[in-house]
């Protein structure tokens, strides 16, 4: 995996340095800045060194955790800039992905089960529409409709500036805390699920207990945040998050729903589904416990990989919704020839993609006993 990442990093370096010009080109447009200042800046940034030296220096620094100084946001370090943006991007992406996969999987399996009905036609048509929609246009329409015309949500950005003035809270800290809360709740839910499975023997009791625990987790989070002095600010973040999440989720949802549907349609032809019917099980059980669980495999893989890759895809969302995340940083970095910043941002995506692959492999084994046993 380390070797793959090194190859990825090398390719990134080569491709980015194949771009014409460098950051000092920006100074050419200013007649008051002498040529010597441009040369001085190239020296300061190490751009006067041969490319192989720049590469070795970058790679060795990278693996020591030093991503260098941003050219366009000097004197800020790339790692500082990215650490600031990552929670916002993770928050946006994780929310949108989880919502879209949850809804997509739920409706996908129902649609497949109701094949040939009007509701299937309507949902498939809507799915194809949203999957093929020109996303920048769609995002602007969503912003215009829900932000300007209906006024339900803010017009992009991630906080209300006037609300946070003198608040005593740092948005980044709250973002991180909210993420930690979510992850902790998910972990607790996981542990509780394991315990329930060991203790409860009847499946309907297990299901009910899991739902109660899930509801308690959500309620606990909400009550906890409600009681905290940061509740207004956390709510402000959530309020700003809804529209971009909804927009991103709608498009992702369509893809997941269509994938689940086709996966379900294949699974429904399997003998074990016929066997389940022959046993006299009700339709809901056959669909949810026999067909959908097997249809889940490609969807789960897609979920894990998309968590990594959607960061890049979020560039448009972040730009239109003024959401200052990693995607927007990468875009700004490309415009400004800020190679360290772009390298850093893309490296984050690379790391996430590699982790995604690893998790997908593990998840496959967890979900499919055939792989686990093999």
């Amino acid at each position: 995996m380390a070797a793959v990442f090194l190859v990825f990093l090398t390719l990134l370096f080569v491709l980015l340095h194949a771009m014409p010009g460098d950051i000092t080109n920006n100074l050419v447009g200013n007649p008051n800045i002498p040529a010597s200042a441009r040369e001085e800046l190239r020296r300061e940034l190490g751009l006067d060194l041969p490319l192989w030296q720049q590469y070795l220096r970058y790679v060795s620094n990278f693996f020591r955790g030093n991503l260098g100084m941003s050219f366009s946001r000097a004197p800020n370090q790339v790692s500082t800039i990215l650490l600031d943006a990552i929670p916002r991007t993770v928050f946006l992406i994780a929310s949108a992905t989880l919502v879209s996969f949850w809804l997509g999987f739920k409706t996908g399996k129902i649609v497949a089960w109701r094949r040939g009905t009007r509701s299937e036609h309507a949902l498939v048509t809507a799915g194809v529409f949203f999957q093929t929609i020109f996303y920048p246009w769609f995002a602007i329409v969503m912003l215009w409709l829900f932000g300007l015309i209906l006024g339900w949500f803010p017009l992009g950005r991630f906080i209300t500036a006037s609300l946070w003035n003198d608040s005593g809270f740092e948005p980044r800290d709250l973002f991180t805390l909210m993420l930690v809360t979510g992850v902790a709740a998910a972990l607790l839910y996981g542990v509780a699920t394991l315990v329930i499975r060991r203790v409860a023997r009847r499946s309907d009791i297990r299901t009910r207990a899991q739902r109660v625990v899930g509801a308690l987790m959500v309620l606990g989070c909400v009550v906890g945040w409600w009681a905290s002095p940061a509740r207004t600010y956390a709510a402000d973040i959530v309020h700003h998050t809804i529209l971009p999440v909804m927009t991103l989720a709608v498009v992702n949802y369509a893809a997941v729903m269509l994938l689940t549907r086709s996966s379900m349609l294949e699974t429904m032809q399997e003998d074990y589904v016929l066997t389940a019917r022959a046993k006299g099980l009700d339709e809901g059980s056959i669909r949810d416990r026999h067909a959908a669980r097997n249809a889940l495999l490609p969807v789960a893989t897609s979920l894990v990989l998309s968590l990594a890759l959607v960061v890049g895809g979020a560039i448009i969302t972040e730009t239109i919704f003024s959401w200052p995340g990693v995607g927007l940083l990468i875009l700004d970095g490309i415009y400004a020839n800020d190679i360290p910043l772009v390298m850093g941002g893309l490296a984050v995506i690379g790391v996430l993609a590699l982790i995604g692959h690893l998790v997908a492999d593990v998840l496959y084994a967890v979900l499919d006993p055939r792989i686990r046993l093999a």
Binding site: P75, D84, R211, V218, S322
Partner: protein, 670 residues
């Protein structure tokens, strides 16, 4: 099997949770009551204070408030939309090459003070901290020239400390000693670099400039020059009189620490500027990365209540607002929606707003759009080191066949407008309409295609060029394109390349490139238009020198011109001491004209506007005559603002409202 109701309950809980959070968001700031209460008159690191307009609450961002009052300012918030985050709060870094960004300038520049400033829209020098209205002229004292500037007494920093000559001396010495570049080079105007800034093997030449800045007493600054300074060193927005002044009592310890570090300059520019007392109409308050920045009205501002008369407009200095919020937007579409929704009052964008969004603004009665001339131009540049561009007749013919009016009016729908002289029309002080008209006549501005063809043929024929088929109009009035232009040496003119930006980068310049190449081809001049990535163009026309020659024939590029009060760009673009192939400077055409050089020296040495103005006209005339550049067009800068909410004292000025950073000191919010 019966479906359990647990799923529905869970969904209900989630829905309620989301709704409750939304309700909390809409309920205002009542939740964070633990952050108020014991704030009192807090001070920042360095014991500086800034006024509090929000009721004394404590800020966690490091920019605490001091229980002051908003003085002349109202309590309203002036809200500006910006498109990139600020990258530093450090005022030293803000003007240095390391960290220079126009977005910083929008936020920070109104916190600075100067001895003299330029009054807009007329661009006249105006005393700010100086006690005398007229800029004192340097006088000879022995071998040196000395200017003494008395300063106002009673002016204070935002923390109440007096502003003295020692602050200015400290600022100059720091910028000089720490080798700050970028805009500092011009403000410091040193005769030679500080010894810290010169490597052992570097050869240093001394020019006319400042050799020292001293405080004769608390309120008199003495600036010493090695020779008699011209306007380029002392006057009209240049040099020490227009230099930012920073508080010694705040920065002294930071500078001392930086001086003793391994990398003094980096240590200085990396220091935080939060909490630094301000001299301008605003005080920096806070910056939330990725979201917004905020400044507060400075109740101690020494100019508050003064009236400025400039360019026929009278207006009063504020600030008239309580605070200024700079909200970050990711795209122009979102920003215009924000403007329409009343989130912001004015959008600041150095590129101007997209023309495509103007209809959206026009449909909203609360919003207004204003177009102002840009302080810049787009041009066709020739490489004078190569044939046939080295031939004036060829350059003139190219100028004549370039029908700027046709391209701007018919192809670009009148959005850009043609230009002929290097000083933009919006720079009313320096622009010479007579010179522009002369150049326009020389380039056949407004003439028909037939007249242009005939004039170009005449110019080229007189210079010894010929064609296999000469371009002409036949008896029926039908144009017969030329074929194969043959040079004075009897050889066909080689294939020429015209580098122009891609349509994605700049559709206007791309269209000009396409049309110029097409016009040349119908004249039998083999020009190929090569739409090229902007960065690649810069590399080719500034960096790629082979055997002492840059590797391009013709190029379409543009300039923003810096200080409009003193157009010093002529030397930068056309001066022999800025030849790209020799010094790496901006003169990449290779233009080197003794008459022009002599005038440049006279211009730099001129000590008054009246003396410099005719020289500038003559410089423009020479450029128009010799044509290292054929000036093409300018597009104006489009800005949007909320006309219902804000009152701007004037909106017509060179470079637009953003030239004055959104007029933070003068705007009133209803």
């Amino acid at each position: 099997m019966k479906r359990s109701g647990g799923g529905r309950a869970l969904r209900l809980v989630v829905l309620m949770a989301v709704l409750s959070l939304v309700a909390a968001a809409c309920s205002g700031g009542g939740g964070a009551d633990t952050t108020t209460g014991d704030s009192g008159p807090a001070t920042t690191a360095g014991d500086s204070q800034v006024p509090d307009t929000t009721g004394g609450s404590d800020s966690a961002g490091g920019s605490e408030t001091a229980g002051g009052e908003t003085a002349a300012s109202g309590d309203a918030t002036y809200r500006l939309g910006i498109f990139q985050d600020i990258i530093t709060t450090n005022p030293w870094a803000d003007s240095d090459t390391c960290c220079n960004s126009v977005w910083n300038r929008f936020v920070l520049q109104s916190t600075y003070g100067f001895l003299y400033d330029l009054a807009y829209p007329g661009l006249e020098p105006r005393a700010s901290l100086a006690a005398v209205e007229e800029v004192p002229q340097p006088e000879q004292e022995g071998d040196v020239w000395v200017a003494r500037i008395p300063m106002k007494e009673g002016a204070t920093w935002s923390d109440g400390e007096p502003v003295t000559a020692h602050d200015l001396v400290f600022t100059w010495n720091t910028a000089y000693e720490f080798c700050l570049t970028g805009n500092w080079t011009d403000m410091v105007s040193a005769a030679r670099p500080h010894e810290n800034c010169v490597s052992e093997d570097q050869e240093v030449t001394e020019g006319v400039g400042v050799i020292s800045v001293e405080a004769e007493d608390d309120y008199t600054v003495k600036v010493t020059f090695n020779d008699k300074p011209g306007l380029s060193t002392w006057g009209l927005g240049n040099g020490v009189w227009n230099m930012f002044i920073f508080p010694q009592h705040h920065w002294e310890s930071v500078v001392e620490e930086a001086r003793n570090s391994d990398d003094p300059k980096n240590a200085l520019v990396n220091a935080s500027g939060e909490g630094a007392p301000a001299l301008g109409p605003t005080v920096f308050d806070q910056h939330v990365t990725g979201s917004h920045a905020r400044t507060l009205a400075n109740p101690q501002h020494h100019e508050t209540g003064e009236t400025i008369s400039s360019g026929g407009v009278d207006y009063e200095v504020g600030p008239f607002v309580g605070d200024i919020e700079f909200t970050l937007y990711g795209s122009q579409d979102a920003a215009v929606l924000g403007l329409a929704a009343g989130e912001v009052d004015l959008l600041l964008n150095p590129q101007g707003m997209s023309v495509g969004l103007q209809d959206q603004v026009a449909d909203n009665p609360e919003l207004a759009a204003v177009i102002n001339p840009q302080n810049g131009f787009r041009y066709l540049g020739f490489n004078l080191d190569r044939e046939p561009m080295s031939d004036l007749a060829f350059r003139r013919a190219m100028a004549v066949i370039t029908d700027k009016e046709y391209i701007t009016d018919n192809l670009l729908q009148g959005v850009p407008y043609p230009v002929y002289s290097a000083i933009p029309r919006g720079n009313v002080a320096w622009h010479d309409p007579e010179v522009e008209e002369e150049i326009r006549a020389d380039e056949m501005g407004g003439a028909s295609h037939q007249e242009r063809v005939e004039e170009a043929v005449r110019i080229l024929t007189e210079a010894g060029y010929s064609w296999e088929v000469e371009p002409h109009y036949d008896q029926n009035g039908t144009f017969v394109p030329g074929q194969t232009l043959i040079g004075p040496d009897g050889e066909p003119v080689r294939q020429l390349e015209l580098l122009s930006p891609t349509p994605g980068y700049d559709p206007f310049r791309a269209t000009f490139g396409q049309q110029i190449a097409a016009s040349a081809l119908e004249m039998g001049i083999p020009v190929a238009n090569l739409p090229t990535d902007f960065n690649r163009i810069i590399d080719i026309v500034y960096n790629e020198v082979v055997d002492g020659e840059l590797q391009f024939d013709m190029v379409i590029l543009g300039w923003q011109l810096g200080n409009p009060a003193f157009p010093g760009f002529m030397r930068s673009f056309f001066g022999a001491d800025n030849l790209t192939v020799v010094t790496g400077g901006n003169n990449n055409t290779g233009f080197n004209n003794p008459e022009f050089e002599e005038l440049l020296d006279q211009f730099d040495a001129a000590s008054s506007f009246e003396e410099a103005l005719p020289i500038m006209s003559e410089l423009q005339r020479i450029i128009g005559r010799e044509k290292p550049y054929v000036l093409l067009f300018e597009s104006g800068i489009l800005e949007f603002y909320n006309d219902e909410r804000i009152d701007l004292p004037f909106t017509e000025l060179l470079g637009g409202v953003q030239t004055l950073d959104g007029m933070q000191a003068y705007v009133a919010v209803r």
